[in-house]
Symmetry: C2
Subunit: 676 residues, 2 copies
Amino acid sequence: MNISVHAEADITAVAHNDLANAVRFLAVDAIETAQSGHPGLPMGMADVATVLFSRFLKFDSAHPNWPDRDRFVLSAGHGSMLLYALLHLTGGDLSLDDIKAFRQWGSKTPGHPEYGHTPGVETTTGPLGQGIATAVGMALAERMANARHGDGLVDHFTYVIAGDGCLMEGLSQEAISLAGHLGLGRLIVLFDDNGISIDGPTSLATSDDHLARFAASGWSVRRVDGHDPEAVAQAIAEERETAKPSLIACRTIIGYGAPDRQGTEKAHGAPLGTEQTAAARRALGWDYQPFVVPIPVLKAWRMIGQRGQVERLAWLDRYERATPEQRDLFVEGRAVALPAAYVLAAAKLRERFASERPKLATRQASQQVLDGIASTIPGLVGGSADLTHSNLTQAKAQTPVKAGAFAGGYIHYGIREHGMAAAMNGLALHGGFIPYGGTFLAFSDYSRPAIRLAALMRLRVIHVMTHDSIGLGEDGPTHQPVEHLAALRVIPNLLVFRPADAVETLEAWDCALGSEHRPSVLCLSRQALPTFRSDARGKNRVARGAYLVVSPDGGRDVTLIATGSEVSIALEAARLLATEHIRAAVVSAPCFALFEEQPDDYRATVLGTAPRVGVEAAVVGDWHRWIGADGEFVGMRSFGASAPAPVLYREFGITPQSIAEAARRSVARRNQGRTA
Amino acid sequence: MNISVHAEADITAVAHNDLANAVRFLAVDAIETAQSGHPGLPMGMADVATVLFSRFLKFDSAHPNWPDRDRFVLSAGHGSMLLYALLHLTGGDLSLDDIKAFRQWGSKTPGHPEYGHTPGVETTTGPLGQGIATAVGMALAERMANARHGDGLVDHFTYVIAGDGCLMEGLSQEAISLAGHLGLGRLIVLFDDNGISIDGPTSLATSDDHLARFAASGWSVRRVDGHDPEAVAQAIAEERETAKPSLIACRTIIGYGAPDRQGTEKAHGAPLGTEQTAAARRALGWDYQPFVVPIPVLKAWRMIGQRGQVERLAWLDRYERATPEQRDLFVEGRAVALPAAYVLAAAKLRERFASERPKLATRQASQQVLDGIASTIPGLVGGSADLTHSNLTQAKAQTPVKAGAFAGGYIHYGIREHGMAAAMNGLALHGGFIPYGGTFLAFSDYSRPAIRLAALMRLRVIHVMTHDSIGLGEDGPTHQPVEHLAALRVIPNLLVFRPADAVETLEAWDCALGSEHRPSVLCLSRQALPTFRSDARGKNRVARGAYLVVSPDGGRDVTLIATGSEVSIALEAARLLATEHIRAAVVSAPCFALFEEQPDDYRATVLGTAPRVGVEAAVVGDWHRWIGADGEFVGMRSFGASAPAPVLYREFGITPQSIAEAARRSVARRNQGRTA
């Protein structure tokens, strides 16, 4: 429907209740049509959301990517119809047909909000706690961008609607704690405090005093009646003025309006049904057919969607006067090429690595890369989950970000791997930043749900995960990742790199930084590795996923495929085999996903037709993709153990000798097969 | 060294400082010898631990598995030498040679404490937050066992030493919140409040008021000088009397005693070095050679280790008078066979499933299994992370556990997947319980670090993970596990089951319940599946990991291997192929790990020599192990989408037709290969 907004369509002429009910019933009707969805939150939080959108949220529905808009995050993503209704009503790129196609194949209105799929959706939510933790990253990005570019270009709020589920997830605590510590005063969380979760009353499982808990982390907190629009408005207005992040606990009734379901878990996650839908219409005085929004109400909502136009135009005016670099950062939907200074710095590093061929842990090589390039990329933001001196993630040029001092480029995320990963997603989503953050690879398990969302959203975030195998030694099996490489490689859209020397580390960074639409994990060694790459110039070989390091003259009898710290062991094995006149090709395979994407003929050239031996200090995982069902694999078959790294490699049999032995077996089997 | 304890060796005759310094310097010397480890915590918390062990902890070092002992959990597992020193000094099965072999191959003293590896270690710690969350499960188990068996058999405390890292992890919040809600008054957390983490002062990353935060979740809290033994003793004594779980924040100096390192992050995770070790000896007046503990001090410690003897003997006396069932539950190091009543109930269910052949979601079949067996297994404890009615995890016979009412068999864990998994570990570690708990399979990512620890510890815990594929439909990609099967299968020691019908679901439960030394994940469908198994009696076929469902007469042209909800689709494909005179065998592969363990000839019989097609509504992961490097796989290549399940199966091409097409391609390739 095309609604032209006339001057007389005054927002204030339409009662709050009509605005809110328009949201409620679009949600109810869509869920009823889909026979699937969660009416409880849209009905319960329609009043709060209406107050927020109609009186506070700075946005221009025609320009959902305007960089200085307020961010709105529906952390309780199951209430997606609340967001879709708001986007549609305010004139976003979401038609009534889209609403009617809720939860259907190919629609713009999937079950949970998906970033990149529906214009106006700021982040993908659904897995609980992710929204609020991502919003912390957005609010942090706002302050950091403000510190860099000033109030004229960056000056906005981040609002979150979160439910009990989000607040019960431990992730929320990491987020709350970080936001409080950094004093992110422009973050305002509207808590849908309805006392109900899926199993029943929240009293079944929790007795937390959320207000006290948030206050303990330095938040400004208050409680309000979520069905009293003036009270909600006053609360938001006042909390916008505080220097602390704010929690407004909105007492609401889940499924507000459905007489037999409201206030109980029955309203949470199932369509109301014909009878309760009709009863809700009667109870709330919404006497319209399904999906019908009366013209005055729709006009009022469309005007709300245009409230931000003037501000946006004023912002554009300031934007026109900004520096070219700033303008580049604020281009909507931009494809940011890495600057020329970066390309030069990277080339210089490469020349040095290739000529000096240092013996370095890849985490050390990574440190040198960061020292060399950090200042060349505007918006590169480092950090670590309290392992800065182990991950080696802080570049010399980077100073820490602190409360009230946001100009720095390094974040002490604390011992909050999950919160870090979610905040990195928020930094990337906000725009203007390329975040990377470090922890041990074994603790990728902690941040995994947020890494998955980065992959689903196709964000450029870079996880620096050091201590990537039993090579970390004495810390033992709790800290030794044996299954994590395999577990990360199966996440779609995620690039998992395991570079084998300093040059490969640089190339892996180059791939990660250049992957605008995919997150990366750099898996780096604790232990020192020789640099075998000596090509000072030329193409990025890591970018092909796998490549031939050694290709024996006159063909090969066996192909050894290895990654990371095991490539140099495989090279040693190849030398051993050469003394027995077994010609071994050696392949370094730093990124399976990129190799998978290469043309068939390239892959065939690399893999060859000789028998293959896989080598990785990890469980076999998906290696059979490369070595075949019965291919030899030299790696781990169990958890690791606590001992010095060289002892572990020996005891677990990941040595040149055992690789050579596996190669001999493979060759013998092949020869036997030929004779038979 | 063999120390006989004489009557005159009065504990009280040895000064607290000597007892504590004995702990400190065993730690310092072991770390110095290993040139690896974390001296900061043992030095800082030696006073607190000495007070706890010498005055409160109920234990008998000669019987570390005495069921009614107090549990002591070192959540800050990097301080392992504190625990090893205490175990050695109190006369546990840990010699001075073991201490000297700290962090060496094959030693009993690995870098982080490992359950099952070192007698007296109650749980594996190191990944931060896990200890405190596991301890919540132990404390819960204590109350539940007490409710079942009375004060005479079960009456003990659970003590935890946790550091800043543990408390910053979101997992700790889930644990704290659950413990507060359930009123676990016998849980006492001693917080090593030293203000230092790895990166530096904790003020770099956190401003939390931990006392206020714990209080907000219903804990009794206080602060104490951690180097004042009397103050610590008074705090513990008083907190033992509160009805709430207790937090005692012990202000300590990290690395206490090392003049140039104490109170800074330098003391945290590196050996002190010769100079600082000597300086610490001087500063603390510990004028002994490395590893030397003066005889009076050692005698005093040994007496501390025997303090609990009398109590244990009195307990044994009561134990002798307990019922046979109770005695069975409290056998140390027991191998609990499933009771006859269970075997009967399972057989009955199987007969019914096999004869009625119901069309049921496997989560529904699981519900029926639980209804049938729950009351036959003492100590079976169910629960869900707020998805009871979706996971179908609550058996009819199970009533909820509540604060002050612990006799029930079902736990509302709240929206705390990670906390649930860790608490389940604690329930299993405590003894007397077989815990299972539910969530959606996609959210296994949230609980993954605790699942990993269960696998490392070889605990019998059972994760019921429903909604196991795109078959969950409209909730969309955030909730659809596409990579989780593969990601779980790579964890060593973990059994991942994906049953295909009601009979397989029963068999999977049977395997999981019978796997005393391995955790299990049951991946169950949301959508209904036909029951194809009609063998009312006979062996558990799931126990073999994979087996032939259809084996065509006269050999096969192709083998279709599928799991879970895709087995019935593969069966349909086989029928399609039969009309074209292509003979397709169909293999159901509910558990890769168990199949891997079968004898070669069994595996060969099942897999056959015909070309193979893998079918699973998930990414390919490690399927090439079964189908070969170039084997056909019908599954997912991306994240899912939001739509009704049948639409998703069609759109993603997981249909009988696409399987048949893949089979035809495989057969054609094989024939071509033969002709060529």
